[in-house]
Symmetry: C2
Subunit: 359 residues, 2 copies
Amino acid sequence: MSNLKNDRFLRALLKQPVDRTPVWMMRQAGRYLPEYRATREQAGSFLDLCKNTELACEVTMQPLRRYPMDAAILFSDILTIPDALGLGLYFEAGEGPRFHKTVRTEADLQGLNAFKAEDDLAYVMDAVKAIRSELNGSIPLIGFSGSPWTLATYMIEGGSSKDFARVKGMAYDQPELMHQLLALLADAVADYLSAQIRAGAQAVQIFDTWGGSLSAEAYKVFSLKYMQRIIAQLPKESDGRTVPVIVFTKNGGQWLSSIADCGAHCVGLDWTTDIGTARHQIGSKVALQGNMDPAILYASPKRIREEVATILESFGHGSGHVFNLGHGVTPGVDPDHVKAFVEAVVELSPAYHQAVSKA
Amino acid sequence: MSNLKNDRFLRALLKQPVDRTPVWMMRQAGRYLPEYRATREQAGSFLDLCKNTELACEVTMQPLRRYPMDAAILFSDILTIPDALGLGLYFEAGEGPRFHKTVRTEADLQGLNAFKAEDDLAYVMDAVKAIRSELNGSIPLIGFSGSPWTLATYMIEGGSSKDFARVKGMAYDQPELMHQLLALLADAVADYLSAQIRAGAQAVQIFDTWGGSLSAEAYKVFSLKYMQRIIAQLPKESDGRTVPVIVFTKNGGQWLSSIADCGAHCVGLDWTTDIGTARHQIGSKVALQGNMDPAILYASPKRIREEVATILESFGHGSGHVFNLGHGVTPGVDPDHVKAFVEAVVELSPAYHQAVSKA
């Protein structure tokens, strides 16, 4: 059993009683922080920063020095696996991620590198170990990966896409080839997350950024099924503790009851879903994570606090809620507004866990 | 009573019996057609094309010459009103719509031009009349407008936006100012759509492109409420026939039961919603329009036909369905694939309306 000083994040994911609602923020180590921008400049490219153990550890710790977060998240990119498979990830200013090679044929698929996470993404495992050591048992560390469908969209399109013409064209016209690719990716992600857990990650999140671009039926077949395949392969415990799995499908609010059955301990919600409705629908099966609109961080601290109060009230009493934004924090946000957000959760949430705080 | 040769579109919107499911396509007069690109080049800018009665009429007719569509839609832009209010609409290559001026303060709001659709957007009414004359009673003509929230996002941001920082900042921090702007826009849209109906539009659609970027609660307060305000002001009839109203909120699938209560005759669905589930939920109140993923048009004609069959089967028997894509057709689509799509609806849908076709 690890000696975590603050384990309310892990407890809430398993719906065990907590003294208050835990809170962290997707992309909490990010460009809205001036100290992040300084470290990023020192590192070189974004990928250089991911691959530099010391600096990746440094940016992971930065938000924790400012805010009483209940979890740290590994600093890395969702596209490390396609890079390791040989596609050559790079970033162009204002363009988002790009790949030198794409996967569009059977031959492209056969040409991918063999993949063993501990060897081929050793720099990620080094970062996990360094961060765990630096955290020194204060709060848990979250590992993560992109979902197979999300990785496939970038690998087939060669970068970001607005209409997903190629990846959907392949899914609909060559479903066998698409399923081969997705199976390969699911097993790679399972190996990758397992390696992160062995290196020290105490929970993992699968980011299904683009599953929400699919139709209801295609989502089940091309995205959810492969997240299920990953979860089935993950170690259930580490250090004698359950390693909870969070699945976050952006724009997946219409499919919550299917998602709740995929084996994850927690379902991430974006802000378009009413968290009270979601709890009513799937709260008996899984914990929920989310879901304040990141754009509310552009409003006043007073308004931010009101919105936190509304979401806490909507979820209601008891454990099973990890407070977060409904998507990553955006670069233009004032760090003081993030402070108002986190402090509001810390100050307002104990009232929803009184049975415990009175005990 | 107008003498429409083909009125199955209008009948389906009112859930009256039809011989087959009517079909049209959002953005059916668009860049995927070589003849559109030629006319566009001839016209000059996109806005020049909208303002040229003859050419706007020409591009409206182009898809009808190729495909047996059951409705025509006015060729125009969703941002004509903000342009007429004085913001100065222009288009930059690859950047989407932009405005020279923005609305961010009470003074900006006060500085907007007075607006009377028949005078200030006379070119739109001219296009409606010309298209009606050219259609000559063959199929009905749809008028349209952007929703108040959607217009407001462009007016406040000054163009397209990824995170809606400014518009949401105003909505959350200065709700009174936002409500003033939205009320002004709702009344302008109501005037605009009423003028289109007087000029000859036989149905109208409100495009709520960005309502789906809001939280569940904010959607009701900032978007849906103002569409309701518009619908309440529209003429109920024209030429002795009901003028049906279609509301389409992209990414609104989680809020269907609220949307079905807004007074519209038909709710547009994007492809992330299962149309069978939606019919079960709100089909007793409203007709449904949609909802094939436009990306399926990149797949083979065989696969397109299968998807049409799946959607028809999901909706099931009886009237109340207008077949469409779940969003606008994209520029890279092969016109022959659109043919496969429309023909599949024409050929496969009569089986779902047999009580009528046998009569």
